[in-house]
Symmetry: C2
Subunit: 339 residues, 2 copies
DNA sequence: CTGAAAGCGCTTACAG
DNA sequence: CTGAAAGCGCTTACAG
């Protein structure tokens, strides 16, 4: 591999000049610039990033941190959608993605992760930081490294989806369809900060319409398909008069639909089921899922944009992205009034 | 951040000694080792990876290359499953994942990618290299960088799923269920090498059972849900006597089921639909999808293992992973003989 | 507008 | 078993 020195010799200038020309420093003769660029082209020179990193501290590597908790990381299509947005923005700016997947414990993330953060490789961090148990950004903050969180931990810079509003949209939709025997499939609030906010949104809207949120039966899953199926079985068994199931993610909703059908319920004719997330496959369930879109790619894209603002010395304000109701075929008006 | 020199001073030894102790070179007094380790602990020393990379060429960074083509990268759950396997093995060995998503054109991958490969950052490459249009490993091979391909390009080291066998399993299953009016939903063979092999598997098994593969109606999609839906509509309209649809991925199968249902066909009662991939959500469709499992995580895990063998100077043989038929509810015996 | 030289934090033959 | 010293390939004040 040709080095900076090779280019300098070929162009008949110093390495300092080559370095400055390549980093677009102004104040250079057009002639010098041309000589240098020609040498670069002829030699096929590509800068050694490790050397650049060592001398300047600029690695052009961003750690994208997706903690390895419950079943989300490699099973949840939503994660991939968020990554898509991050990738688009980072790639556009010529940055690289170091995918970090720390194991999260009460005591914090694993040492491989903490070492990585302190290794000098990382120029900034974008992290999914929404697990109440521990924050992956604690160590990053200590080091004062530029970082943006997607989530609810009290980090300096962060972005999140408006989960409270999303919950409201779910409840409002189902109430407008005439339902009032409504079951809720959620998860324990310790699994993800968003749960608490979505539930509050549900409650807020229910009470606004004079329904008692407290009396709505609820079962908790862990976001997986199976857990949604189990939760639905429990709710529909204990409360056969339910006409609607509000699920706090799409995968649990899909599990719920399967179970409901296996129990002889028609969806949506005698049971409406609503999901949350609008994962790509939610349109492919039978019936297609009514759900809440939370702009996952946009969440990632904006997080990346905010990180570059931090690089530029700015202090981007916490952003909250609105959600949208996507009406498909899994919800409909109540047909039977069974009370 | 404390440096090697700080540690050396604190321990009262040279930086060479610290370096060697840390890299587990033998021949050291237990006393020396203890002194060094204590200094490391006290100072909270973490090696600077850029410096290590520059001087030794060992970066502990593996580029995981997923080309950005058709709709696969951020929409196909299979990609995430493969990544899961790669991540597990790489993390276990203390290596980091640089996620590279080059745009692929006829002329090859984009320059950001080729520069990355030549940047000195990358110690090895694991790539999904199955798009006939161009190979992302061409440039890597030129540089003689250790690499393992998941796919069919003629790369030195590679692993793949037994697509031919997978095709056979699909066909065998549906024939055993008594079907012989069989439609095929595939994609153009230019999109992915696996298609050709799966189709051959289909053909092989059909002919072995005395059925004419040539006469089986076929429609092509692009792996997306929508394209599967369209292909199914076309096939079922032009050939209403079909009793089975063999789809070369799960997402097209899910789209096909939806369309079939919308056209008034019961699945599986008067139409069996079989998918391919066994993505996590295939169990959540209604009815749950009969499909072919190709051990996606294992594919990634073994690719990573092979890469470390290459690091060790070995020459791992090309591996082929067997597939399995997963029978769920979307396939059943033919009920009506309509010919 | 351009260059000489120090320095980033490690590793690695080479000596002893 | 341990250390002195060169070197990896860049960038960056500092001079001129």
């Amino acid at each position: 591999m040709p080095t900076l020195l090779d280019v300098a010799r070929a162009a008949g200038v110093s390495t300092a000049t080559v370095s400055k020309v390549l980093s677009n420093t102004p104040y250079f003769t057009e002639a010098t610039r041309a000589k240098v660029m020609q040498a670069v082209d002829e030699l096929g020179y590509v800068p050694n990033l490790a050397a650049r990193a060592l001398s300047s501290g600029k690695t052009h590597i961003i750690a994208v941190v997706f903690p390895y908790v419950y079943d989300a990381l490699f099973t949840d299509p939503l994660v991939l959608r968020i990554l898509e947005g991050i990738e688009a923005e980072l790639t556009k700016r010529g940055y690289n993605i170091l995918l970090s997947t720390p194991r999260l414990r009460e005591s914090g993330p694993d040492t491989h992760y903490t070492r990585l953060i302190r290794s000098g490789y990382i120029e900034g961090v974008i992290a999914l930081d929404s697990v109440p148990m521990a924050s992956v950004l604690e160590i990053v903050r200590q080091r004062k490294m530029p970082a943006v969180a997607i989530g609810y931990h009290p980090n300096t810079y962060s972005i999140r989806s408006d989960d409270h509003q999303g919950g409201q949209l779910q409840m409002e939709h189902i109430i407008r369809l005439g339902h009032h025997k409504i079951g809720i499939i959620a998860s324990d609030e310790s699994l993800h900060f968003s749960i608490e906010h979505r539930l509050r949104g549900l409650q807020h809207m229910a009470e606004q319409h004079g329904l008692s949120y407290q009396q709505m039966p609820r079962a908790n899953g862990d976001f997986s398909i199976d857990s949604g199926a189990k939760a639905a079985r429990q709710l529909l068994t204990e409360h056969p008069d339910l006409t609607a199931l509000l699920c706090l993610n799409d995968r649990m909703a899909m599990g719920a639909i399967q179970t409901a059908q296996a129990m002889g319920r028609q969806v949506p004719d005698d049971l409406s089921v609503i999901g949350y997330d609008n994962i790509p496959l939610s349109m492919a369930s039978s019936p297609a899922l009514t759900t809440i879109d939370q702009q996952a790619p946009e969440l990632g894209r904006i997080a990346a944009t905010m990180l570059f603002e931090v690089f530029d010395g700015k202090q981007p304000a916490t952003a909250t992205l609105p959600t949208t109701l996507i009406v498909r075929q899994s919800s409909s008006h109540v047909l039977v009034n069974n009370y």
